[in-house]
Amino acid sequence: MNTQDSSIAAMGAALRSGTITAEQLARDALARVAARDPALQAFVLVTESRALDDARRADQELRAGRDRGPMHGIPYALKDIYDTSGIRTTCHSKLRIDHVPDQDSVVAAKLREAGGVLLGKLATHEFAIGGPSFDLPFPPARNPWNTEHVTGGSSSGSATAVAARMVRMAMGSDTGGSIRGPAAWCGLVGIKPTYGRVSRRGVFPLSWTLDHCGPLTRSIEDAAITLQVLAGHDPQDPASADVPVPDYRAGLERGVSGLRIGVPRAFFATASAVTPEVLAAIDRTIALLRDAGAGVEDVQLPDYALFAAAGRVIMMPEAFAIHEADMQTRLMDYGEITANRFVLGAAVTAVDYINALRARRELTDAVNAVLGRYDALLTASALATAPRFDAPVDSLSSTSPMQTIPFNVTGHPAMSVPVGLAPNGLPLSVQIVGRPFDEAMVFRIGRAMEQVTGWEDVKLPAFAA
């Protein structure tokens, strides 16, 4: 069995038919990590003994007739801002280098309860904001499509681990695009669910009102399976929503015929950083969706600059409030990029912040109004392919090449989906945005795109053994 390219569902079927064991899946994945990670730096910690313990337990339970569902026996990994009981959780930072939580984050606990096999903890931009950096305790993860290029962040190691076929699923977090950006630049599916859909408890916060938890995966189905495990109300997370969770796989194959999809074209078409290959990829995707029966029309939303401004002006002071004491006393222990970004939070006034919250209400209402007429929106994830390490970009600046932060501001579910390769051999992606709590529609459209764009047939990068 080719375990590196088998979907979560296919691995599950093999486990249940007895053609493979969870221990063998774990050992195969650990071998891939050992062979590939020295050049890619996805992992900050490989939890081999935990993985083998999880796997053996999964095998024993299946033999005993206890089936915990689709993640039972499946290897995965966690961004190193997710608390893991008894396992170091560093936020990729000197400030938390010895931090060993005594409880699992809710996400880690749910994946454990679902029978998942934890392979390890993954590199991140420091505190989910500062990177890629070379002045941190661990090196930055590299893009498997071309190791001279960045992955995007902040869920950098999560993207590398999945794109390099070490695991099929890795958890990221997304405050301004930290799931969708790396997914876009590494040819992966990355979903930021609706704000409140997945508990944030036990995940180190960057910005309380913008933070979201979600997976990066190789396929839409893998993402749907993962979100099924994670979604649900957590009374101890103040943002958690008590909204029923549907069966995310039930409608995956329904196609897009008859659906209405809006395209806020001004978001990306008028951006100075947009590249011709991104515009071409979006237009090709739109044409393919129309061929598949969707009605796709341009729509108007407020200026992109307003969304970006609101997001940054909300994020910076919330982050500074979290880090205030350490910024005052241990500034030089942060990486330089992190520190330079966090200090700006001290320069945002209360009126600035409140105006950003007023903008959030206006912008959320505007997106909801458009989504009252359309089933989903389609826009860019990123305006260009992944840059080189020696030409970094600031994803928070007003000229950022990322187009993800609007839906952190508004909380709508949003997913990056790969749609092809640029002439430079790097992945191109688009972003699908749904109505609040309608991740099922986002998955349905994403699944159709996966099929019509031919992404499933794209040759993945080769990796040195």
């Binding site: 940054r312 500034l331 105006n355 919250l357 209400r361």
Partner: protein, 79 residues
Amino acid sequence: MQRSNAEVATMPDTPSPENLTAELEILLARNGIKVPDTRRDTVLAAYADLRQQVALLHGRYGAVAEPSNVFRLSPTESK
């Protein structure tokens, strides 16, 4: 919804480079932050960019435009 019902404030014009530097240093000092000299230019450039974004949000809203964190209470049940 914006500009309804009241005068709206405007952001002061973009200050001179000298005043921008002074403004940032006052704000950082108020919060107990001391940026090393070697990083000051980088932080100042980022602050100038952030300030332009801040300016976009000023002057848009009147008194009835409430922020997104205005909240509603639910009745508390006795136990």
